[in-house]
């Protein structure tokens, strides 16, 4: 009888240990459409005629405190990214949405013109700011907690009144340690890890926009009273012999990258490199990589020779192309894409989009996953290969009790 009890005890202990460990690695997620405990806006701009409005909502039924960090990624006098960190705290009551304009921030002033509970003192960013915003759920003592209740959006305004919008990337957490080093790892213990790669679909850079060409001003008049001005067809170009020279619209694309390894404690910037695999509509693939990057990067696809349309001398045949992006050094990255659709009169329509996130297969004995092989699970990979769905990183918060 006692032996049976010992056996049961042994099994119970082992099973309990397994359960505890599994609970510790309960599935978390990185998502642009579910609330999380870390909320990351990779692209925040207050420069070049552009502004950004941040919206954050507490989707839970209790107060949620956030420790937020602006990362200034614009170049400083040395020509390198400033990587200056500015932090602040906000507090949201249950179900409370809030917003602020990054150029003005928000004060705690019930009598000002901004209605609603002021969530806290939010500093404005300096003119010329280009960078990111990262917010982490914390308790009243500023220790990280994982309530998975925050979601948010960033609205990019301008230039010239145009707007685009994307969802903040939410990283779910479970049981973070009571220290200031946030571990993002594939087992989901503390926080889920950033995905290994991202996919951006786009009209090849510099190519004419097919819908502007069809319905808008895709051309310019060759002569006549409207010579050099925008047109859709020759009927828009009065004058003998005047024609509408089409193909003058174009699409320009950018991607913005923020490494998932962040050090808000020492503010040492993360150096990273990106690998690119571009696939055009004819399935022709082109590979390349970025040069060394640091802290944060906004990259014009026109600077990536493999992403440029044949219309302007590049290799990509249209009408659409797909680019896979992964961090080849410095750890995984989070990305946002934005396309600018320009007619012949230089009127611009901007559209931001969250990139799809994916794993990559890795062959046994190789150093890195393969950009040509995306995966959700190992079953998607060739035999003996493994799906690297996500990669570890850390976010270091400032010391809790300096």
């Amino acid at each position: 009888m006692r032996t049976i009890q010992y056996v049961r005890a042994g099994c119970l202990i082992s099973t309990l240990a397994a359960c505890i460990m599994m609970a510790g690695s309960a599935r978390a997620d990185v998502s642009t459409e579910r609330p999380g405990s870390l909320l990351i806006f990779p692209k925040v701009v207050q420069a070049g005629g552009r502004e950004t409005i941040i919206q954050i909502t507490n989707t839970g039924n209790s107060v949620d405190n956030l420790h937020c960090f602006y990362i200034a990624g614009q170049d400083g006098p040395s020509g390198h990214p400033l990587c200056q960190i500015t932090d602040f705290f906000i507090s949201l009551t249950k179900q409370q949405p809030t917003h602020w304009d990054v150029s003005t921030g928000r004060s705690v002033n019930p009598t000002d013109s901004i209605e609603g509970f002021d969530p806290g003192v939010i500093p404005p960013v300096a003119p010329g700011f280009t960078g990111a915003l990262v917010c982490a759920e914390v308790d009243a003592d500023t220790s990280p907690v994982a309530m998975n209740k925050i979601k948010g959006e960033a609205t990019l305004e301008g230039p010239n009144g145009d707007i685009s919008k994307y969802n903040g990337v939410a990283i779910q957490g479970s049981s973070p340690d009571n220290n200031n080093i946030l571990s993002l790892n594939p087992n989901g213990v503390e926080y889920d890890a950033c995905k290994t790669a991202a996919i951006f679909n786009f009209i090849p850079d510099g190519a004419p926009d097919p819908i502007i060409e069809a319905l808008g001003d895709g051309g310019i008049c060759s002569s006549g009273t409207r010579s050099g001005l925008g047109c859709n067809n020759t009927g828009d170009c009065p004058g003998a012999g005047a024609t509408c020279l089409t193909g003058q619209s174009q699409v320009l694309n950018t991607i913005t990258a923020l490494p998932c390894n962040l050090d808000f404690q020492t503010q040492v910037p993360t150096n990273f490199n990106l690998g690119y695999l571009v696939i055009d509509g004819d399935e022709v693939t082109h590979t390349t990589s970025s040069g060394p990057l640091s802290c944060w990067a906004s990259i014009n696809l026109s600077d990536i020779s493999q992403a440029v349309s044949t219309a302007v001398g590049g290799p990509l045949a249209g009408p659409v192309a797909s680019m896979r992006i992964t961090g080849i050094s410095g750890g995984p990255v989070l990305l946002v894409g934005e396309s600018f659709h320009v007619d012949s009169e230089r009127d611009i329509g901007a559209a931001a989009v969250n990139l799809h996130m994916t794993g990559l297969c890795q062959a046994p004995g190789t150093q890195a996953p393969d950009l040509t092989q995306t995966c959700t699970t190992t079953a998607d990979c060739p035999a003996t290969w493994t799906c690297i769905s996500s990669q570890s990183s850390t976010i270091k918060l400032p010391a809790l009790n300096p």
Binding site: T3, T15, A18, T57, G116, I199, L215, G349, N354
Partner: protein, 441 residues
């Protein structure tokens, strides 16, 4: 003898203790083995399929909740519309993809011709005298092949032959006027000829839709400047689970007691849709002017078995959804919305008729703050053979001069816009959704 007895006692005790220890050790080792097995598989187990809709992962079934075309400016709004669809096969195998356009544009019941200006309507006021604007719901399907890793794209208004770009199949056009959705899912086979159009367990598709509002110079009147406005959203993906039956039912989640969907084949629809938005009529903090938001709600359950050109609106499952709206003071108002088969509406026209938007729970005039959080929860019926799930996308419009009566920023007012995906919380655990379809021969 005493010592012997003691030795015997100790031996017995020791033996007993040793046995116990052995058992415990075995149990412990066995249990440890279990723990190791669990931990060993945890990294791979962590790469799990999503049980909920995602717009940022490849999936086996993707939905574009809003596709619009207006090549003729049917309602004289001073702009043209079209939608660029991008669909990518992220996998290493060629995939046959079955797609359905769902046309939800309303029609006048007394139209005497197929002229779009007399056929299509938004309200009965758009019809000839005595006419009624009736909802329509019809589908058009087409089959395409997308080769490994291939991105393809097409204008919704145009016919596209994917054989021109190394794929296969003809993408059918929706015509000069369309409002509705597009749904695509992976099916068996490697070509249009050898597919039986039954769904498979694969998650290779990702999609984006770019909606264009634009006009060339001098349109609609001489002196009008050209304008370009583009907004883009990600298609909503439902990842296929490991087992997908070879029938023509897509089971989004499971429905106990269902004739076809007792077992989930795809991710389930969300329990709650969360919208983070500006209230209608809110002043843009940077640009001035006003902001308004449109939401498009698409049902997860759909009957795609009606033939092309057949109005299947009465075959769709109507859904009522409860709505809670929170402002920045944490104050809460409630509303509800009926979604018969597809609903695209300005937020403040959910609970108010056109012209009365300033009295809406979604109006900044009523709420007193610029932004709000809206939670939409569909009410589930008891029928296990149908579902009531919804998915959504939002479009935000900023304009310098909103409509003075409605506060709206959408056409005909010049505007800039952005589209973005809604957030989701939970899944419908008690009942799933089902997409039933048949493919035209």
């Amino acid at each position: 003898m005493v010592n012997g007895s003691l030795r015997m006692q100790r031996s017995t005790a020791e033996r007993s203790s040793g046995m116990t220890q052995r058992f415990l050790s075995v149990a412990g080792v066995g249990g440890l083995g279990i723990v190791m097995l669990v931990l060993g598989t945890a990294p791979f187990a962590h790469a799990q399929l999503a049980a909920f809709p995602t717009s940022d992962r490849p999936a086996g079934y993707v939905v574009f909740p809003k596709v619009v075309v207006d090549e003729l400016d049917v309602f004289k709004l001073g702009r043209f519309q079209d939608t660029l669809i991008q669909l990518t096969n992220t996998g290493q195998d060629s995939r046959v993809v079955e797609c359905f356009y769902v046309d939800a544009s309303s029609r006048c019941n007394n139209s005497v011709s197929t002229d779009p200006s007399s056929l299509y309507c938004r309200t009965s006021a758009d019809c000839r005298s005595g006419g009624q604007c009736l909802p329509q719901w019809s589908q058009t399907d087409f089959t395409i092949v997308v080769t490994p890793n291939q991105p393809v794209g097409w204008r919704a208004s145009q016919t596209t032959n994917l054989a021109d770009v190394d794929g296969d199949g003809i993408v059918k056009p929706v015509g000069p006027y369309f409002i509705g959705e597009l749904k695509c899912f992976e099916v068996d086979g490697t070509s249009i000829v050898n597919t039986t159009t039954t769904p498979i367990s694969a998650n290779d598709l990702k999609g984006e839709a770019s909606i264009y509002d634009l006009n060339p110079v001098n349109f609609p009147a001489v002196g009008t400047a050209a304008h370009v406005d583009v907004r883009e959203y990600n298609a909503v993906g439902f990842q296929a689970q490991p087992i997908v039956n070879s029938d023509q039912f897509l089971c989004l989640g499971s429905s106990p007691g269902s004739a076809h969907c007792a077992t989930a084949e795809y991710a389930a629809c969300p329990s709650i849709i969360v919208l983070d938005h500006f209230f209608d009529g809110a002043e843009d903090p940077d640009l001035g002017g006003a902001i308004s938001t449109d939401v498009t709600l698409a049902p997860c359950t759909e009957d795609l078995t009606q033939g092309a050109g057949t109005n299947g609106v009465n075959n769709q499952t109507p859904t009522t959804a409860q709505i809670l709206v929170f402002n920045e003071f944490e104050q809460r108002l409630s509303a509800s919305v009926n979604v018969d088969c597809f609903k695209e509406t300005q937020l403040s026209q959910i609970d108010q008729t056109a012209g009365n938007q300033r009295s809406s729970a979604f109006s900044s005039s009523v709420q007193g703050t610029l932004t709000g959080q809206t939670r939409i929860r569909p009410i589930l019926s008891n029928d296990p053979n149908t579902g009531n799930g919804l998915i959504a996308i939002l479009e935000e419009f900023h304009c310098p001069s909103p409509d003075p009566q409605t506060g709206s920023c959408s056409s005909p007012n010049p505007h800039s816009s952005a589209a973005f995906n809604a957030n989701y919380i939970g899944t419908n655990g008690v009942k799933g959704d089902v997409v039933s379809y048949s493919v035209a021969p």
